[in-house]
């Protein structure tokens, strides 16, 4: 009985997700999304991997992009859809409930940019590898990939500091979505290995957060 109550308390609470994550991250998530949106003012067609509550998708649509977003969490998708309807962006944004495994159904060379915030750190190694492989396939030549996520700091001291600081954030994420993130050891390296040239890597928050911008230099022929 008691354990059941405890498990229930940890149920999904997507409606308060943005607020809690923003508080836990001391405003960093919103500013990262604004930075990404600013990079993509000219992008026509954008894919948002793990779109969550649709905050970034809505920002991009307001700038004039056609956005497709997907998230595996049904309740998150519902909140995102409501946000899009509320903002009258239904013509510009479509939200799907699916995981990265469904990316093999997307057409080749269709997107100008792929974005993802705080989603890659929730994926398994295999899923990240798979997602990046398909990002390369679905992007138009010279398309951009922008991923912002938790990363493992490079220096030992910062690593220790990072573990201490991220505990409240981990707890917030766990309480609202029952998912735990795994900071990525080498985000830029993984994006680069997938066939992108790294344009920018901005590290912040004690080296524990990174935004990586990659560009698909050559048309994909595989």
């Amino acid at each position: 009985m008691f354990s059941y109550i405890f498990m229930k308390i940890l149920e999904n609470r997507p409606r308060s997700y943005d607020r809690m994550m923003d508080r836990a991250s001391r405003g960093r998530i919103l500013s990262v999304k604004q930075t990404i949106a600013a990079e993509l003012v000219d992008a026509n067609h954008v894919l948002d991997i793990g779109c969550g509550t649709g905050e970034l998708a809505a920002m991009l649509a307001v700038q004039g992009s056609k956005v497709e977003g997907f998230d595996v969490n049904a309740e998150m998708v519902e909140v995102a859809r409501q946000r899009i309807l509320k903002k009258n962006l239904a013509n510009a944004v479509s939200i799907h409930q699916m995981g990265v495994a469904g990316m093999d159904g997307f057409p080749d060379s269709d997107y100008d940019a792929v974005v993802s915030t705080l989603a890659f750190s929730e994926l398994s190694d295999d899923e990240r590898h798979f997602a990046l492989k398909h990002c390369r396939r679905i992007l138009k030549p010279y398309g951009l990939i922008l991923i912002a996520d938790e990363v493992v700091p490079q220096k030992k001291l910062k690593k220790i500091l990072h573990v201490t600081i991220r505990i409240p954030m981990l707890l917030a994420a766990y309480l609202v979505s029952r998912t735990a993130s795994h900071p990525i050891a080498d985000l830029a390296g993984e994006i680069s290995s997938a066939g992108f040239s790294i344009q920018k890597e901005i590290r912040s928050h004690g080296d524990s957060f990174a935004m990586v911008v990659g560009r698909l230099e050559m048309p994909d022929t595989t």
Binding site: F2, S3, I9, G99, S124, D126, F130, A180
Partner: protein, 363 residues
Amino acid sequence: MNPLKFIWGMFFRLFPCPTKIELGRIGNPDQQSPVLVTCNFYLTVRRLFRRLKGMNAWLLVTDSRGVNVWCAAGGEDFNAHSVVSAIKTSGINDLVDHRKLILPSLGAPGIKAKDVEDQTGWTVQWGPVRIEDIPAYLESGRQRSAEMKRVTYNWRERLDTSIGALFPFFLVGALGFLFFGSHLLWHYLWVATVTFFFFMLTCPWLPGKRGLTKVVLLEIILAIVLVVSEVLHLPYRFFIRADLIIAMVMLFIFGSELGGLAPTMSSDLDPFLAKLGIGTVGNVAFAGTVRTELLNGLRELAYDRDKCVGCRNCAEICPQGCWAFDDQNRAVLAEKERCTACRACIVQCEGKAIKAEAKIQIH
């Protein structure tokens, strides 16, 4: 072995204990080797590797949020999406030349086999309930005996699950006595331990079908002993009183938890709270889910014989053996009283013949 994860998994089983989501190799698997699917609960994966030593198989460790197969499937965290994602992203398609997937039988309430088949092109086969039956299952050409399909709750399983789930309560009690009543700490430790082992080892033979009803007799006996010791002014009355009260409180906790721990029983919580008229507490919902409504009698398992397509999935995956077949290959809900509302038959029925139908309420 990761000792921290082992201890966490063994004694704090209320909390997830995740291990890496990956394609594991048991022995030296090749293109013909079987592909087994499991959750990413550390202890389960460890036990699989230990039990299957000497065999060659692929082990697809899929995302169940670090929770065991049965609980994660019941909570829908271990689902078709987890399995589809693992198949597509792990590269297993290129490593074997067959397309047969062995799913854990107790994953049936969460993983809709048809969705996995439709989205991946693989054929699902249900494996045995217990890890130790896997070698015999594979050696017999993937034939499952009736015992392999049924869930049990023998003394080893009872000790294993109850130590894992009840240890935190034991610990909280110990800390409480340490700080607020240290003169009774040793009493608490031995009384709680003896009560725990006595209840968990004898519970199948105690009268009652639910955890809370099983403790009633014991609680009455203890209450009588308490009254007698008070009336007779027995020596060491204070300690007798303390020991008996500790035993009664611990028994109540163990009894409350038993329904949630035993795979052969249904939860006590939902019908209990529903009877009290409590639907939600804060964001914690006790009413409204199919499972809850099945348990509290708002819905009942309804079966439409005309829709039965004879897929036999219900009989294959029911861990309680509730379903049988008539001579026309149609399902028959033969042992309804054994049902624990796990919903596996509803999820897997190909003809949508089994439903959790709302009961007509007469006011």
